[in-house]
């Protein structure tokens, strides 16, 4: 139950300080990598992304102002607010006196400068507080030395040190001396009950800038002498560039050049509109040496995989074959999901200036370190020559884990020897994506004498498979004979992580399945889950990821808060309980009928994510995850025909809008345990909750997303958006 085992040790060796700041004052930091190397347990699919150095820096000016550098990229998940809160808490400064700045990529001093897997707060929880506490102790020690008193008699309060005589010194008064002192060992962290900042509603640190339109995002970045670039990728996945005619494009005023770049065409010009416009005037010929893929092909391929016997067994307990052979009842169902684009509101873009002395990169990227390394490697330069600045991101959802657009910007700059800003149009963004792969799950369970005796989960997926922790999610450990098998098909269509990878559809599949299994067994679906959890309590199986106790708590709380089973006749409910990203969530969907159509009226959501660092930000993540989950389960429809994506903009690709958002009732379990993930875990359960509620209403089950593709069950009015 790793959610309760996030202990990381703090060692003196991993503490970094710099006393020779140009601005004066103290700059200290903490190397998380050295501290948590052994304990770190990243999700498997992110393991390729180079977990490395990380530092959280504090800068204390002589004036007493405190600047905290937030190490990790901000994609809207709120870490630029929450990570500095952890430092400020133990440093013991007033939050109103703290300035937060985005740290740059600094592989010497930082670890895991990454936004992904809902892990920033979980991994930063201990070390960031240690950083603050260590800095505080050094400031106390400096003040004590100045006064000639024992440090143990000194106390701090909001940036002021007081000794037994009542003398006071501000942090700024002793910052310089403090930086020269020995780094203390064994600093004591505050008790949870003493927290002043952690657990209090704290506003987004960029709020003022956001509401007044100040430059913040990669798209907003400009530099002297910068030109703009637009790119044409092959229209179909699997195609290569044969030739192109750019005469018309080059004739557009403001176009500087049109270049071939790998299998793409790049237009360089003096502004974004000019390069976008010129792009459309290029006539290109594309070719492919093999058949281009269509969703129909994938559909058949994935089914063939599930029907076949070539799988990797990812976990196997007992003997499922025996269980199925001896069963009183067997249930087998298949669930299907489409590809999904990420559709960050800020289309992909990046600034690059490749010169003889350095590679300057600025923009929105979830994986700055891995991307910088990749760029250095491709350009045959030293990693030290890359200077990467992270901007606030207009959404990530996993898309910006894959720095394809950064590489493109850098290589284009290298070709034209100029600072360049590469900007994707929405069409580029949606059609040259790193999509959530299409997946099919087949689940089979056996029941004997009223008990679930066997559970077999098979995954057929495009390009890749579930990460290694997932086979240990519920109901692993709860069913004696249990097996998870996976297989994939390598496609030319690029795929990757999409908010709550795998969990985002596996949850729908398994939670729909449990509902149907409960129906078959003639038990309440909640009771089925509670009964299964009983089998896991007291388990000695170290691999089991979830906590049966915490799962039971969220389930029981959701029953209570949603009025499960006690609702009036016109409300139909669906239940889900799911664990991912170290967080336990239970959700209940309420569906009512309005104008003869089912409407999702409310989602009740119960979350156990340990201690909540910033409740105001946490609620935004919880609600955002639910809205995202509702939207994509209902409308997320994306396919390919001969390698060409079905949709390229929001006129045909439907994202959830305000009118379609249900009421959301959130309940967070009070906890003194370390924080767990929150950017992703509320998304996966919601699709299943809605599907189960629809079953309660219509008597029919949904096995395929999006729900709008099941028009006999769920008619969704197609609303035209007038700009």
């Amino acid at each position: 139950m790793s959610s309760t085992k996030t202990a990381m040790t703090f060692s003196r060796r991993s503490f970094i300080r710099t006393s020779s700041l140009a601005s004066g004052g103290l700059l200290i930091g903490f190397n998380l990598f050295t501290a948590c190397k052994d304990a770190i347990k990243p999700p498997k699919d992110l393991s390729k992304l180079d977990y490395k150095d990380f530092n959280a820096f504090i800068k204390i000016a002589e004036t007493g102002e405190v600047t905290i550098f937030s190490p990790n990229p901000e994609i809207g998940q709120g870490v630029k607010t929450a990570m500095p809160m952890l430092i400020a808490e133990e440093l013991d400064v007033a939050w109103k006196n703290v300035y937060v700045e985005q740290g740059i990529l600094d592989t010497k001093n930082y670890t895991r400068q990454l936004a992904g897997g809902s892990q920033s707060i979980r991994h930063g929880w201990e070390p960031l507080r240690q950083t603050g506490a260590t800095a505080r102790q050094m400031l106390i020690n400096a003040a004590a030395a100045k006064w000639g008193v024992d440090a143990s008699e000194c106390t701090t309060n909001e940036g002021v040190i007081t000794n037994a005589n009542g003398d006071t010194l501000g942090y700024g008064d002793v910052a310089k001396e403090a930086a020269l002192l020995e780094v203390p060992e064994n600093v004591t962290l505050k008790k949870v009950s003493d927290f002043k900042i952690i657990g209090t509603d704290t506003y987004n640190v960029d709020l003022d800038k956001i509401v007044t339109g100040k430059p913040l995002y990669g798209m907003d970045y400009k530099a002297e002498g910068m030109v703009y670039a637009a790119i044409i990728h092959p229209p179909a996945f699997g195609q290569k560039l044969v030739s192109f005619d750019a005469a018309e494009a080059k004739a557009v005023t403001g176009v500087e050049d049109v270049l071939k770049y790998k299998d793409n065409i790049v237009v360089i010009g003096k502004d974004t509109w000019t390069v976008f416009k010129a792009k459309k005037l290029i006539k290109a010929e594309w070719a492919s040496d093999k058949d281009l893929e269509s969703t129909e092909d994938h559909d058949k391929i994935l089914t063939d995989i599930l029907d076949g016997n070539k799988f990797d067994t990812r976990r196997s307990d007992g003997n499922i074959k025996k269980a199925f052979a001896n069963a009183d009842m067997v249930l087998e169902r298949t669930y299907e999901s489409p590809f999904l684009p990420h559709n960050c509101m800020e289309p992909m873009n990046f600034y690059a200036n490749v010169t003889d002395d350095k590679i300057h990169l600025v923009g929105p990227i979830q994986t700055p370190e891995g991307t910088a390394k990749h760029v250095a490697h491709l350009l045959e330069r030293n990693e030290e020559e890359v200077h990467l600045e992270m901007t606030r991101m207009g959404g990530g959802f996993g898309r910006r884990l894959f720095g394809t657009f950064v590489v493109e910007a850098a290589e284009i700059s290298n070709m034209i020897k100029k600072p360049v800003k590469l900007v994707y149009s929405r069409e580029d963004d949606m059609t040259a994506g790193i999509y959530r792969p299409a997946i099919k799950y087949r689940i089979k369970a056996s029941v004997k004498e009223g008990k679930v005796t066997g559970y077999h989960l098979k995954e057929a997926c495009i390009n890749d498979n579930m990460y290694g922790l997932i086979p240990n999610f519920f109901p692993a450990g709860a069913v004696e004979n249990y097996q998870v098998d996976t297989a994939n098909y390598k496609s030319a269509i690029t795929t990757g992580a999409w908010r709550a990878p795998y969990a985002n559809f596996l949850s729908f599949s398994e939670q729909s399945f449990f509902d149907e299994l409960a129906e078959l067994m003639e038990v309440d679906p909640v009771q089925l889950r509670l009964d299964l959890l009983q089998n896991v309590k007291g388990t000695t199986d170290e691999r089991i990821e979830y906590s049966p106790k915490r799962m039971e708590k969220v389930i029981k709380t959701a029953v209570e808060k949603s009025g499960w089973g006690t609702k009036q006749q016109d409300t139909y409910q669906g239940f889900v309980a799911y664990y991912c990203h170290n967080t336990h969530v239970a959700q209940v969907a309420d569906i009512v009928v309005k104008n003869n159509e089912p409407v999702v009226k409310k989602i009740t959501c119960v979350v156990d994510c340990g201690i909540v660092v910033n409740p105001l930000g946490a609620l935004n993540q919880i609600e955002g995850g639910i809205v995202d989950g509702v939207g994509h389960a209902m409308y997320g429809n994306f396919s390919f025909k001969d390698g060409v994506p079905s949709d390229s903009n929001f006129n045909s690709y439907r994202l959830i809008r305000m009118n379609e958002v249900p009421e959301i009732g959130t309940h967070i379990i009070e906890s003194e345990l370390a924080p767990t993930g929150l950017g992703e875990p509320t998304l996966p359960p919601v699709g299943g909750a809605i599907a189960n509620a629809l079953k309660a209403l219509t008597g029919k089950r949904i096995y395929k997303q999006p729900f709008i593709n099941n028009p006999d069950l769920f008619k969704v009015p197609n609303k035209t958006i007038v700009g």
Binding site: G76, G78, D201, Y217, T272, W273, G617
Partner: protein, 156 residues
């Protein structure tokens, strides 16, 4: 290259750009007003919303030639120091997640509230329906419009 004169946030501006350039790109690339965001380019997401003579429009789908001699307001000019009731409400409700769409949301909401000062929840939802928030902060957007409406109504 033709020259266009228009009033932007109360100041007369002259811009030399191609006549088909959408106002969005003139603002962003030539007038250094990057608060107005590019989202879709086809008037479907609302990220680029500005006011033309006080009314919310999608700046990605109106050209410089069409606004010649007219007056536009962008997020940067909605108020001094972010003190417009809608901006204040956005802050008090802590609306943004990634924040990218919020300038457009604020511009749509402020134009709407200038015309309807006591909107029902459904009227708010209908008015904001054209603005996508990919992070799904819709509940807070709706709440912030209600909070702003109250302040505007109190002042009126």
């Amino acid at each position: 290259m033709p020259t266009y004169q228009l009033t932007v946030n109360g100041e007369l501006k002259t811009v030399e750009v191609s006549k088909d350039m959408p106002v969005l790109w003139a603002l962003r690339d030539y007038l250094d007003l990057v608060g107005t965001k590019f989202g879709c380019g086809i008037a479907q997401c609302g990220a680029c919303t500005i006011h033309l003579e006080g009314t919310a429009i999608r700046s990605c789908s109106i050209t410089m030639a069409q606004v010649e001699g007219k007056s536009i307001t962008t997020i940067e000019g909605l108020s001094k120091d972010g003190e417009h009731p809608v901006q204040k409400a956005w802050k008090s409700v802590d609306v943004p997640q990634c924040g990218y769409c919020q300038a457009g949301q604020i511009m749509t909401a402020s134009s709407f509230l200038a015309k309807n000062q006591s909107p029902s929840k459904q009227e708010i939802k209908d008015a904001m329906h054209g603005n996508i928030c990919r992070c799904g902060a819709y509940k807070r957007i709706c709440k912030a419009v209600e909070v702003a409406a109250e302040e505007i109504a109190e002042k009126a």
